[in-house]
């Protein structure tokens, strides 16, 4: 089940944020973005600029709008005011625009959302074949490459239901990677997993981060945030309350709500 080949991340393996390259190029720019569900103001005046190669962890209490925020970035949710620019493409209501952004932004969900009626390999080749129009053989090669990368090439012909949760999430990551995205979004990728499976998924994500992928990650894995993120964002009630580099964020939070939140999740 779990791969034992990867050594657990420890202090000496700690990847310092400064060691990873962050370019000056802007990957995502969110400007004065607002979103409402009916009368409920879920996202309030969000401003966020993500440079290429940045790894951002978003945390906050449930219902704070953090998932909604990253779902807005690939247009799974519509925002009503403000703008989102991804890789220089302004997210508008134009389908071609949306398609373009979605093919550049990969997304992993809390519940994996693998397609249960397709094999692992088919899951991975589906979008490249039908969206990117890649020839099937090439798509399969790419898929195997990424499946090896997430360390489950031997499961390629199985169905998602035959895999453990951790394996499924890694397949989901591989499936996104097959589209060669320049940005990856993670929506609580480990919260539906048993404790012993969390590590294997986080390892994959760390590996991805080391390769310089731009990542936005909604998670409560504070260890991961400390180790990988170069910026941690705390959201509450649809607003960005605080953002900072991990060290100062965890050791010296400024806002009272951040302090309360951190004391609650780190308190035990």
């Amino acid at each position: 089940m779990t791969d034992t080949t990867i050594t657990p991340p420890s202090v000496d393996m700690h990847v310092n944020a400064s060691q990873m390259k962050i370019s000056d190029e802007i990957a995502i720019q969110i400007h004065a973005m607002n979103k409402w569900y009916g009368n409920f103001h879920v996202l309030r005046d969000i401003n966020l600029t993500v440079n290429r190669g940045e790894r951002i962890v978003i945390c906050g209490p449930s219902g704070s709008g953090k998932s909604t925020l990253i779902r807005c970035i690939n247009a799974l949710e519509e925002h009503q005011r403000g703008s989102i620019t991804v890789d220089g493409t302004l997210l508008s209501s134009d389908l071609k625009n949306i398609d373009k952004i979605r093919s550049e932004v990969g997304m992993c969900f809390q519940h994996f959302n693998l397609f249960p009626h397709l094999t692992i390999l088919e899951n991975c080749t589906l979008a490249p074949i039908y969206v990117r129009k890649t020839p099937k053989k090439d798509a399969e090669e790419t898929a195997m490459y990424f499946l090896e990368k997430v360390k489950i090439p031997e499961q390629a012909d199985k169905y998602p239901g035959q895999l453990s949760g951790g394996q499924q999430q890694r397949v989901a990551i591989a499936r996104s990677l097959c589209m060669r995205p320049r940005i990856m979004l993670f929506d609580e990728p480990t919260s539906a997993l048993d404790p012993e499976m969390i590590k294997e998924v986080l390892d994959t994500m760390i590996q991805l981060a080391e390769e310089g992928m731009t990542m936005l990650c909604v998670t409560h894995e504070m260890g991961f945030a400390r180790q990988v993120a170069n910026r941690v964002i705390f959201m509450d009630a649809g607003q960005i309350v605080e953002q900072n580099a991990p060290e100062p964020f965890f050791t010296n939070p400024q806002n009272d709500r951040t302090k309360l939140f951190l004391s609650q999740i780190l308190g035990h």
Partner: protein, 406 residues
Amino acid sequence: MTTLVDPPSVTSTFRIGQLLSDTRYRSYTFQFIALIAIIAFLAFIGGNLARNLADAGLNISYAFLGQQAGYDISQRPIAYTSTDTHGRAAIVGLMNTLIVAFLGCVLATILGVIAGVLRLSKNWLVAKLMSFYVEIFRNVPVLIWILIIFFIFTAAMPAPRDFRGDDPAASMLFGAFAFTNRGVFFPWPIWGPGSWVVVLTFFASIAGMIGYRRYAKMKLFQEGVMLPTFWPSIAILFLPAILMQIVMGSPITLEYPELRGFNFQGGNVALGSLLGLWLALSIYTGAFIAENVRAGILAISKGQTEAAAALGLRPNRIMSLVVLPQALRVIIPPLISQYLNITKNSSLAIAVGYMDLTGTLGGITLLQTGRAIEAVLLLMLFYLIVSLSISLVMNIYNNSVKLKER
């Protein structure tokens, strides 16, 4: 980090292609196209209709409902003769439909609940017997069942004359019920003077029973004393009315059917067509309801029973307080759609000559007046109204019992 550039404005010049590619306009475009297509489709259909009617020299008119019907209806809940209008015939048919549908729903529910519960019985033989009933009836067309059971009530029953003589070929059941090929004759109450007192007493007893149960519950909640409810309820319900009947000198009497000449007189009669249709619909639908009931009880997880038992509740209380309220939530929606099915299937009355709405409006009236379109549309309208009202009730019920969840 580059400087924050102000993102370009979203509102740009409108291009015709945006009608298709922009999510803001796309759905309006499709709907507009669909609207045009629907109008065009209706135009062609309507044009055909107009042309065909003109060719046949017809028009659409509902005036025939006011014309004299000229045919008899043997089973009539309201006064009706052949000189009445087609409209009144349709109303008689409508009432006949509602009668058989209502009776069918009641009997089907009883049969279905019994069969469904017995199918889960620990008694192997009974459970198998009930499975047999369910499978046999579910897998054969209802029309065949209607015809078979109708046949039992007509051709297979003795004629009234068989009841005559010293050594009759047939005899009445309990001296009160005569099963003949002209229908089943049964006793019917005669409301003598003063019978309203008895009826009133009975209604008062119902109120009294409800009051007693309330009182018992209050007693339990406030003082922790549990009073017996079942037998006292029954006593409160029936005893006063029976006493009143005796005190008043039996104002309500039953009139028994009697053989006079070649037929039975007195009492009341249910025609073979009504009985056949009613029983067939009930038994057929009962098989489906049995499945629903079984599924509903099985749907309540064993954990619920165990949890209730662990709290120290006794089996019958587990049933009435924990399992049944949850099972009903599962059973009632399909049950109501079975009621809907009975109502719709009652239109098969036409196969046995029971004059329901399909037999009057959709049958003889249609044939006599030739007003096919009008008659069929009215027919559909009626069934639609019934179905939609039942669906409405179902939705209200569903919303009221929906589990409160986050």
